[in-house]
């Protein structure tokens, strides 16, 4: 189940990110990124809220708290990354730090707080993945 859901998340997340490349190709990326993000969030919210109203049952305070936290982190992360680039931090530094640093931090928190142990094959996968993200970030 984990792998099937993760492959779906992998594909959906990749497609979600591809929109910025389409925007860039259309010539709107430099001037309308915040407008794009606003509609991007809106489109996702409307579609998934429609599904949630049919199959999701009642909203709980837990859902609201986690959703609010994720929303704040998502917007804050996007804005802070944009500001870091605007302040002169090179993309070749900013992207590897946020991508691989984030994976590394989450792995540490997973082990320290959630007591998750990763086996040697999983560790090899993490190493391969972090190297790949580093290579793509420096491209």
């Amino acid at each position: 189940m984990w792998f099937r859901l993760m492959i779906l998340a992998f594909v959906f997340n990749g497609l979600g990110d591809f929109g910025l490349r389409v925007l860039q190709e259309a010539g709107y990326a430099s001037d309308y990124k915040s407008h794009y993000l606003l509609v991007w969030y809106l489109g996702g919210a409307i579609a998934v809220a429609a599904i949630a109203l049919r199959i999701g049952g009642k909203i709980t305070l837990v859902d609201l708290g986690i959703g609010l936290g994720l929303a704040l982190c998502s917007v804050c992360g996007q804005m802070a990354l944009g500001q870091a680039l605007a302040q002169g931090i090179a993309g070749s530094v900013a992207y590897p730090v946020t991508k691989t640093g984030g994976v590394f931090l989450v792995a540490i928190v997973g082990a320290a707080i959630f007591r998750e142990r990763v086996g040697p094959i999983g560790l090899a996968g993490i190493l391969c993945g972090m190297t790949a993200v580093l290579l793509l970030s420096f491209e």
Binding site: V11, Y28, I126
Partner: protein, 151 residues
């Protein structure tokens, strides 16, 4: 430059906290579909407030609107499926796999826009394939203790 580093650390902390919040959401049994809807909806409200107050609201050009809408749907589906997936697996490997999805826009850019494939890019894509296979192997070779039976 120092201000830039502060912003960079803020971005790093924010993105990392998202991974932690997803796992926390699983532990407190948050409903994945509502988490996705609320994440996107509340982020939209925050962006609208920011646009109206700080950036100064301007109308959204029609092409921007029609590009953003479907890709936002994909992003929301990603939040939903990911929140469902962390119930069955470790956050470290799940978060990495989600970040590896950068292979999709990279591959599509090569296929649709004719971007060149450098050696570095090809090596990175091969490593992503290897990482996905290793994580699948790791997952199938372990005792399913992380999976919750009520999921």
């Amino acid at each position: 430059m120092t201000t830039g580093i502060v912003y960079l650390m803020l971005a790093l902390f924010s993105f990392s906290l998202m991974g932690v919040l997803h796992k926390l959401g699983d532990r407190v049994r948050a409903n994945p579909v509502w988490v996705a809807a609320l994440t996107m909806g509340l982020a939209c409200v925050i962006m609208a407030m920011w646009s109206a107050t700080v950036a100064g609201f301007a109308s959204v050009p029609r092409p921007v609107f029609w590009i953003a809408l479907p890709f936002g749907l994909f992003a929301a589906l990603a939040v939903w499926t990911f929140q469902g997936a962390v119930r069955h697996g470790r956050i470290a490997t799940s978060w990495l796999l989600l970040n590896l999805s950068v292979a999709i826009p990279t591959g599509l850019s090569i296929g649709l826009y004719g971007e060149s494939i450098s050696r570095t890019k090809a090596a990175a894509l091969a490593l992503i394939m290897a990482a996905v296979i290793l994580m699948w192997w790791d997952r199938t070779s372990e005792v399913p203790s992380n999976s919750r039976s009520d999921a």
